[in-house]
Every structure is written in structure tokens, then in C-alpha cells.
Symmetry: C2
Subunit: 246 residues, 2 copies
């Protein structure tokens, strides 16, 4: 496939004009491979570029003084990484790869140029940023007001649903390259307790632990456990289109 990963990402969002495609293509010099566990940047590093994920998984996090770590969000193919730092000189959070990945980088000033050249892309980027916020909000609710059982189930279902959107297919059976430690750090729990909870879900045939990663066996079941309401993942693409490209 000749088209860049950013173009691919946005095709999914909207029909792009030739000019807009070229604009997006120009954003990336070339996709680059990175291996598992490489840390793209740390909190406090200067913020110079954004990335789009062509292949692989990543996560953003914050390290605490006492060595604890809070995972903020997990990124899957099609996501854009680093937008959070747009308004800052320094990165607000660190970023690491969960698997071997292919990413496309584009420098920060380019984004402003894109805003200047295409109102549609500008609005789409704003929409993505607002979706990122909605995901953070949901994570906040998860941390503040749910039990460990619900937290774990909710997080897993969110990942499943987000993958469905970018893969464009639904399955009730799904493998995620996550560790229990990552879950713990994302959900504000201890690994031990995540493990306890996981055993519970395992006995109920909702999940499974293959040699590596986590296997979801019954996403609808998990959804029930979590009282999962997917509306926070439903962007209003049509509305944005109507306003930006009438």
C-alpha cells in the first residue's frame, strides 16, 4: 500500500480531497520501526513531534517520586500519540512501546501549518483531541468510582472496542498484548490484586491467560460486569464534516 499511515488513519474519518491527502503525506518523512520497550520520551523532555501508530501498541505514563507509575492511556494502530503535549514545551507524560511497532513522526510546527491549510483536517484533529479527553474522563471515572473487578473489565472492554473500530471487524474473542503489571499501573491497583481479580474472571470464563498477553473470551460478558457504556467512543464525524466542509 503506497499511502502513508496518517492518510490511512484519516480516510477512516472522512473523504479527503487530493490536496488534503498530499498535506497529510507531507507530514511524515517515513515510517520507522521501533522495538518493544523502547521509550520514545520521558516526562519533561522537550516536545518536538507527534506520532501516528501504524503498527504495534504503546502507552503513556507518569512516574511518581516513590517509584510508582500511573499508566494514562494505551495506544493502538490508527491512534495519534502526543497531541496532549501540543500546548506545552515539555512532555506531560512519558511514552513507551508495548510491542515492536512502526510509527510515523511529524514535527510539531507542521501541525499548525496543517491547520492553516485545511479547515477540515484542523477540525478532525480537534475532534481527535476531544476524543482523547473523553477516554481520559472515562479512565477517571474508572479509577474514582469502580471496584477492582469493574475496573479490570471496563479497561479490557474499552481496548476491545477501540480495536474493533480501527480493525473494522467485531469478534467476541480477542488477544491483547498487555501484562497484569500494566493493568495494575493503569487502574491504580497492585499487581497482586489485579491477579486475584483476574483469577476470578478466569473462573467465569470471561478471560484467559495464554503464554503471553491476555485473551478475552467473552467481551459481552465483560461488558456486563463493567456496566460499560460505549457512547464515549462514538465521535460525531458527520457533525464535524457538516461544520467544516459544508
Amino acid at each position: 500500500m503506497g499511502s502513508s499511515c496518517i492518510v490511512k488513519h484519516f480516510q477512516h474519518y472522512a473523504p479527503l480531497s487530493v490536496a488534503e491527502r498530499e498535506l497529510l503525506d507531507s507530514l511524515e518523512k517515513s515510517p520507522k520501526e521501533y522495538s518493544k520497550n523502547t521509550q520514545l520520551w520521558s516526562q519533561g523532555d522537550p516536545c518536538e513531534a507527534f506520532y501516528s501508530v501504524k503498527k504495534g501498541w504503546a502507552y503513556s505514563f507518569r512516574d511518581m517520586e516513590d517509584g510508582a507509575r500511573q499508566v494514562l492511556d494505551v495506544y493502538v494502530p490508527g491512534d495519534i500519540i502526543g497531541l496532549r503535549d501540543f500546548g506545552f514545551q515539555k512532555r506531560v507524560s512519558g511514552l513507551r512501546l508495548l510491542t515492536n511497532s512502526v510509527l510515523c513522526a511529524f514535527p510539531k510546527p507542521r501541525l499548525t501549518e496543517v491547520f492553516a491549510e485545511s479547515l477540515l483536517l484542523c477540525n478532525i484533529f480537534f475532534m481527535i483531541s476531544s476524543r482523547d479527553q473523553a477516554i481520559l474522563v472515562e479512565r477517571l471515572v474508572n479509577l474514582g468510582r469502580r471496584t477492582a473487578r469493574e475496573k479490570v473489565a471496563h479497561f479490557l472492554v474499552e481496548m476491545a472496542r477501540r480495536l474493533e473500530k480501527t480493525n473494522n471487524r467485531v469478534a467476541n474473542h480477542l488477544h491483547l498484548p498487555l501484562t497484569q503489571t500494566l493493568l495494575a499501573d493503569a487502574l491504580g491497583l497492585s499487581v497482586v490484586h489485579v491477579n486475584r481479580t483476574f483469577q476470578e474472571l478466569k473462573e467465569e470464563k470471561l478471560v484467559e491467560a495464554p503464554n503471553s498477553g491476555i485473551m478475552l473470551l467473552d467481551i459481552e460478558g465483560l461488558q456486563k460486569v463493567a456496566c460499560f457504556d460505549p457512547s464515549y467512543l462514538d465521535e460525531d464525524l458527520d457533525g464535524v464534516l457538516k461544520r467544516a466542509a459544508p
Copy 2:
């Protein structure tokens, strides 16, 4: 003062051209008064407008099935409310006023028009959205990885620092119109435990409970308790200006 509250807000961010001022002025028909506890919208309501806060305090929240509530963010004068919902048809969270307030509304489609007409304002709005995200991130860390004592202290210091920015003056002594119930809902704690924690901080002369609201007596002291790092509130206005209006 003749100038609209949005203009006032952005003056603080950047020197605006006459055209840009007029553009912002056009965003609002007129400031409007609302009384304490009115609920501007609920989660799921159609998202039609954004607001800027001219006077008073507000907060956004999510209600849970079981009656619990998670407060997501608190807004003070100068803040813009609702940007979070830009990419959605329905509101992601509810909004209520904490005090009698004066707000300025502007309809959603107008924002896209502003993007089209001023690259600088577009970038500033993007910066605000990214700052909102940074605040959510910090709240996430707070919920996931801090003790009740740290949570309360951190939240209070954040409010103090944010007020300083919009008030343009520093004090080591500050009154906030917050209730302990609101703190509890914002921090994922029970009111009882917030109260316990509050007593502790009171004995250490860090805070005080006047007839209504909360009085901060020693912000620096609280800052130490919370290991508060204010960098997540330092937007890079200069960078944005350089990129958007060179």
C-alpha cells in the same frame, strides 16, 4: 469594561489584532447570570454550545448507575467549559454551578468559523484543549497513585495555582467555595474520609473550615504534602504564538 469576557480571557493569552477581537466578541450574544446549583446540562444531552466563565465557579461530573458521582474538573473565572464535547453529538459529562455565576455562551458551529478565520485563535483553542487534558492527566495520577492526604492537598493546591493565574496575584491564604462532598466526589473518596483527612490538615494549620467553603492557610505547606509539581499548568504560549503568528 466594555470588552467581552472571551476577549478578556484571550488577552491574557496573547496580543490580539482588532479583527481577532471582533471575532471573539461575535462569539457571544451577552453574558448571562445563573444561580448557584443550576445544572446547565446532563450527560447525554445534545451538545450545542460552549461557555466561558466570567464570574463564579462550576464543575463537570459523571453520575454512576449506583448513585455515586465522579467530579471531573472544577472551572474558575477565565476558563472555557464544554470543549471536551467538541467531537461528540452528546455531552460526555454533566455541568453544574457551584456558585452564582455569569457565563457567556457561544454555539458550537461558531468555533469552526473561528478556526477558519484566525489561525492564531485556532491554535490558542487547541492549546486550551491540551491544557484541559493535562489537568485531567494530573487528576488521574491523583486518583490512581496517591493517598487521601495527598489527594486532598494536591487538589486544593491545584485550585489555588489556577486561581493565581487568572487573578494575576499570589497569596498564601485563599478561600475556595468548595464543600467536602465535592472534594470527595472529585477525589474518589467518601465524605467521611475527606472529613477525617481535613481534620488532620486543620490541626497542622494548613487549612481551616469557615462557615462556608474552605480556607487555605498555607499553600506552600500543602504543596509539600502533595509533592505538587506545577509544570502541568505552564502552557507554552510563546511557542504557540511563534508557530501561529510569526
